[in-house]
Symmetry: C2
Subunit: 745 residues, 2 copies
């Protein structure tokens, strides 16, 4: 243990003790107490212990972590318990992948230990695998499918290559992992391999571990391939909690489990397959960073064996749920969570976020010991089984649906954390609050407010010409205004709250300067990597605690939660203009496509060696009836502006009874964005403003009923969902009008 580490521990104890004095009377004083209590040294010690052994669902150490977290919450004065669900979670019994022709080579298997990375030589890790693939033992010809997304299959078809009866070799990136084997399966592949190409994740990013933090040649990205865009959570219990006695689907009937075997792969192994492939040259945009010429394969010369056999028994998921009861509005809940299960050790993902959450819990507990009570009930949740596809949180949300609908004000999520810039996504009426907090928390590295640092970073990127910042975001940064939050798709535990129940949600993290991406979901996501390359001394872990702790305190203690509906209305208007533009762009492209089809230009391959067929005939994009939605968005804008003005004028001086009425009117307003019939083909997703994309996965699609219908040429759906979305926004505006009326009374 280094001296500065011991000193930090001592001073943290001193500060924590100092904080137990008297209940701070002001918001500023409570936040000062929060800051004083948050200790990076605490977090570092917790992280070291919690990431010392494998933490996959069902592993002894993951259970021990849940019990440790429970004990800490209790020691800090919280009302805490473990809530268990029994979920389907397959673990590999045997896996094999080998090159069969043109030469035999055994590939796959566990990642090797790396010197200086202590846990990489530990025991008990599962070998590389992906959860909810289909098991099997196949030997087949290989086709390289780039990212394995829809456009890639169009490009393959134009070159006369298909994956029917073959193994699809996809690289990670371009879209969510699970889409790759799903689309391969839909196109008739008998198996799928997903590998990490160094163009996206390897030596092209930086020196590889252990010289630097980037992905080394033998590291493998595990992950879930459950069909999340259909629904997350336990595949056997869609829509309700996986409690003892719950009705469970037969595994064969669960629509989110794939039917073909799938394995992830390192780039060292993938090189052996890719360098053997013949067939047409891969298109220019398909070329990764391996030192070889990328070909499509599919010519019968390179075959691979792929075998997976899993243990499909139910496993226990241990959610730790802790409460600080609200003094004034006990039935208004501020929910905040971070999972604790990992693919292997999970130092960064998720434990770096989990220990930041523990620091907040410790600080709030210390505040409570001074006699302070929050106005609203604060619920902290340490989720289990997030990695296989949000199982712990989803089952909990599904099991407590009625109570959450009736009580939740907001859900604030974190997951892994790193060094760098503030990142915030979520429900846009909370954007101003997040920005205000970003003005009050200081960046550990530069000492400027984290919002200022984020904006400076955007400007510096734009100045260097390397940023891909959206113009609106850049303009906001130039003015020093609020940050423009992105929308939430999926990939962490906010999804069931936001998209199934319509509870306003935020996801907060620091990052962009760490190198955690290089060990993502591999055995090298370790304490050693994290403290060397991602957040040395957990300075940004402390910053995260101060950020989220402020959000929780300000919301829990506010007279009325500090929302600004104009931000939401502006954002929805921006999304609608994107959808309108999408239609225009599609029509222009359709016209061009017809011109080319007419004069045969498409027959001229840009790659002369590859035969190119015309793209399949597709219906032209008509004008979609957006007027109803335009009207609704205009009305929403007016209503939001009126409410914001009314609250700014009179919000501080409301009579207590009016305040209660107003808070009741606003608490569940975001639930009005739901349509209980859900999105086309996926009724579990009910939010008509925010959803994970059917063909982007984690990436969000906003106004998804309309946008995806245009993208996928389901034009009847587009008209239908324009109307449904308009109805939801009209209800939202009507509720705002009612709230404005309450203030005016």
């Amino acid at each position: 243990m280094k001296p500065h580490f011991a000193l930090a521990l001592v001073s943290s104890v001193a500060l924590a003790t100092a904080a137990i004095a008297a209940p701070p009377a002001t918001q500023a004083a409570r936040e000062a107490a929060l800051d004083a209590s948050v200790s990076a040294a605490d977090q570092q010690a917790w992280l070291k212990s919690m990431s010392s052994a494998p933490n996959h669902v069902g592993s002894p150490h993951n259970k021990a972590n849940a019990e440790f977290i429970l004990a800490q919450f209790k020691a800090w004065g919280w009302d805490a318990a473990i809530e268990q669900f029994d979920v389907l979670y397959p673990t590999p019994i045997a896996t094999a992948v080998e090159l069969v022709t043109p030469r035999r080579a055994t590939l796959g298997g566990q990642e090797p230990p790396i010197e200086g990375d202590a846990t990489s030589s530990a025991a008990g890790m599962l070998p590389p695998y992906v959860a909810f693939q289909g098991d099997g033992d196949v030997t087949a010809d290989v086709v390289y499918v780039n990212y394995g997304l829809p456009a890639d299959y169009l490009a393959l078809a134009r070159r006369g290559v298909d994956v029917k009866g073959k193994i699809a070799l996809a690289r990670y990136g371009g879209g969510w992992r699970g889409l790759k084997p799903k689309l391969a399966q839909e196109h008739g592949a008998v198996g799928c391999i997903i590998y990490s190409d160094p163009a996206d994740d390897g030596y092209k990013q930086g020196d590889t571990y252990p010289r630097g933090g980037a992905r080394p040649a033998n590291a493998v990205q595990r992950g879930s391939v459950a069909d999340m865009p259909t629904y997350p959570g336990d595949p056997l219990t869609p829509g309700y909690g996986a409690v003892p006695g719950a009705k469970r689907l037969a595994r064969a009937d669960a629509p989110t489990i794939l039917k073909i075997p799938v394995l992830p792969m390192s780039y060292a192994d993938a090189t052996q397959i890719l360098s053997s492939l013949g067939g047409p040259k891969a298109p220019a945009t398909w070329i990764g960073a391996l030192p070889l010429t990328y070909h499509l394969g599919g010519d019968g010369k390179t075959s691979v064996r792929l075998m997976v056999k899993s243990d499909w028994s139910l496993k226990p998921a241990y959610n730790v749920i802790a409460r600080l009861k609200g003094a004034k509005y006990p039935d208004q809940w501020v929910v905040r969570g971070n999972h604790h299960d990992a693919w292997v050790f999970g130092a960064m993902d998720p434990l770096s976020g989990n220990v930041a959450m523990l620091s907040e819990a410790k600080a709030l507990g210390a505040l409570a010991k001074t006699g302070w009570r929050p106005a609203r009930t604060i619920v902290y949740a340490s989720w289990d089984a997030e990695e296989p596809m949000l199982l712990g949180s989803t089952e909990w949300v599904e099991h407590h649906t009625a109570e959450l609908r009736a009580k939740a004000v907001i859900y604030i999520n974190t997951d892994g954390n790193g060094r760098g810039f503030l990142s915030a996504e979520g429900s846009h009426s909370w954007q101003h609050l997040v920005s205000e907090v970003g003005r009050d928390v200081r960046d550990p590295q530069t000492g400027v407010p984290v919002l200022k640092r984020l904006q400076s970073g955007l400007l510096a990127e734009a100045y260097d010409g390397i940023g891909r910042t959206e113009p609106a975001q850049l303009a906001a940064a130039e003015k020093g205004g609020d940050l423009l939050m992105g929308p939430l798709g999926s990939g962490s535990d906010y999804s069931p709250f936001l998209q199934h129940l319509g509870i306003a949600s935020l996801n907060i993290a620091y990052g962009g300067e760490d190198e955690s991406g290089g060990v993502y979901h591999s055995i090298y996501d370790s304490y050693d990597h994290f403290t060397k390359f991602d957040d040395p001394r957990l300075a940004y872990g402390a910053a995260l605690s101060k950020t989220v702790g402020r959000l929780v305190l300000r919301i829990a203690d506010a007279d009325t939660p500090p929302v600004r509906f104009g931000d939401f209305a502006d954002t929805v208007a921006r999304y609608l203009s994107e959808v309108r533009q999408l239609g225009d762009d599609r029509r222009a492209k359709d016209a061009k496509r017809r011109t080319l089809a007419d004069d045969g230009a498409f027959k001229l391959a840009t790659d002369p060696l590859a035969p190119v067929a015309p793209p399949a005939e597709e219906p032209a994009t008509p004008y979609v009836e957006l007027a109803v939605l335009e009207n609704a968005v205009a009305r929403l804008g007016a209503s939001a502006k009126a409410y914001d003005a009314a609250y700014a004028a009179h919000g501080r001086t409301l009579a207590p009874a009016t305040r209660v009425q107003l808070n009741t009117a606003l608490r569940d307003i975001d639930q009005l964005l739901l349509d209980n019939r859900g999105l086309p083909g996926r009724p579990w997703y009910k939010n008509l403003v925010y959803a994970p994309g059917r063909f982007t996965g984690y990436g969000a699609k906003t106004l998804p009923g309309v946008r995806e219908a245009i993208e996928e040429r389901r034009f009847a759906d587009a008209d239908l969902y324009a109307e449904r979305t308009a109805k939801a926004l009209d209800a939202y505006a009507a509720r705002l009008d009612a709230a404005t009326a309450i203030i005016g009374r």
Copy 2:
């Protein structure tokens, strides 16, 4: 010899014989005779023989080729002779490059033989080198400078790295080769290595030779690094011919010869250096395709020895000059050329273009044997010593300046040729003629007119979203209108004609589907590579002969050369709008830079591990006085439109004396684009519309006096050259007005 090859030879003889019948009376009949005479089989046989031994300047086989060409011209009835110049051309006596630390490794040396490439195991090739570097023997630390262009040195400075006393390691690409060592030298480097990175030239383009045609790991790109943007031609005789007795500069005084040693390198060798480099990580855009993490070096840990010793004696350059005297206007010359010297064998560069030119000469000779005589004198030139920097052509142009000024109508150039799409660049009043020819020549592969194929290719690229086609070019392709020619910079023998004397010039080639880039300036630019990967059976060689042959015939026989000045005026107007936009963009960027400097945002490195300093203070971009140029361009547009209309109405029916007057007024009109004082700092370049860029090299800069002055923040020059350029354009417009008046008389 394969059967089809023998058959083709027989049929070619038959056709050539058939053509000797009677003088064709119409343009169409002459072009039919041209087509019948052009034989791909001829070209293939000539190419095999001419590329069978090394063809560098001064080599026996290069001289033999000149003599062969001379003999052919004479046999075909031309008035031909060899015109010799004695030029400075250094050849390597000894070269060495070795890694010294952190481990010793010998690098460099001759490229190894490749199986199936017959000439790669021949004798007499010079080892890899670049011409007009500075000789020396240095051992120093290495800095990776990306492409080695001005922006790269700014980026290095911001990271605290410099090349002073070090060896700059630059990759090929991004700008002309010679700028890299020149800028390295200006920044204090003691040596420079230029290597081919597979991101730009290697396995990323396709399978490497011999499996495919792309650059193999050991191939080296030779080339000239003479300071061409100052002047091309013999460094010792700027502005006049290098004839016996000419006054020659001392080598040390020649401003276009570098002072530091420079060598080119293969990517196999460069990998050994790059993988050893420490120091800061290279910025994202600097990363090539080698399987390693790119660092900047400069930390004293990687040193290299670089040694070059050259034979600096004068060498003979043999230009073959051949004439067919004009019957009607013997003192109006149509000049057409292609060089014959090469870096090694030069099958593609330049012999594929040279044999196409020979086919034209054979066809024109056959036509002449029927009794036909061109109206204007046709001059064919097979240049020597193009590769070291246009020595043969430049010395000839400088030696014959007075005659060329008085007689030349146009210069039409070709160089290496390949498979694919028509490419044409040059003086824009000739754009419509080139397009008309493109409508009449058929693409060998698809059977459609070559212009149609080019346009279809542009549309297909745009459709696939992979093209970088300019919007104006794409719009022209969509309408099926004329092609939009690019401007000429440098890189082949048109430069002295166009930029020193103001003679209208064209450069024509086919390409885009061949793989000649992969062996460019290496020993593998061979007959075997060319006939396998670049233009099998020389089908596009024949297409080139038919294209350029038509251009020559139509210009030589026209009553008045078929120019359209509206195309020139429109193009100059487009260039001026680019220059205006450039100023606007610069001002916006300057403002942003000041904002960043004010708030210190630039201090936040986007690469957190690299220290970043603010960019050096530079003067802000003022508004440049463009009104004078705007007025001149507007006047040019009106005058051009009036002339085109007058000629369209009356041009076919002019009285003979009027015709003579008109032709005299138009013949040298492009010489009015010159200002005898030349461009700032480089008086040899006198054309105020077209020039090679000071910092792009081969890449053209249009309206260069103004554009480069803004780019380089020489704002007094910008104002001065706006005025001078306006004056030139005014003179051009006045001449057009005079020509219109002649028609009207």
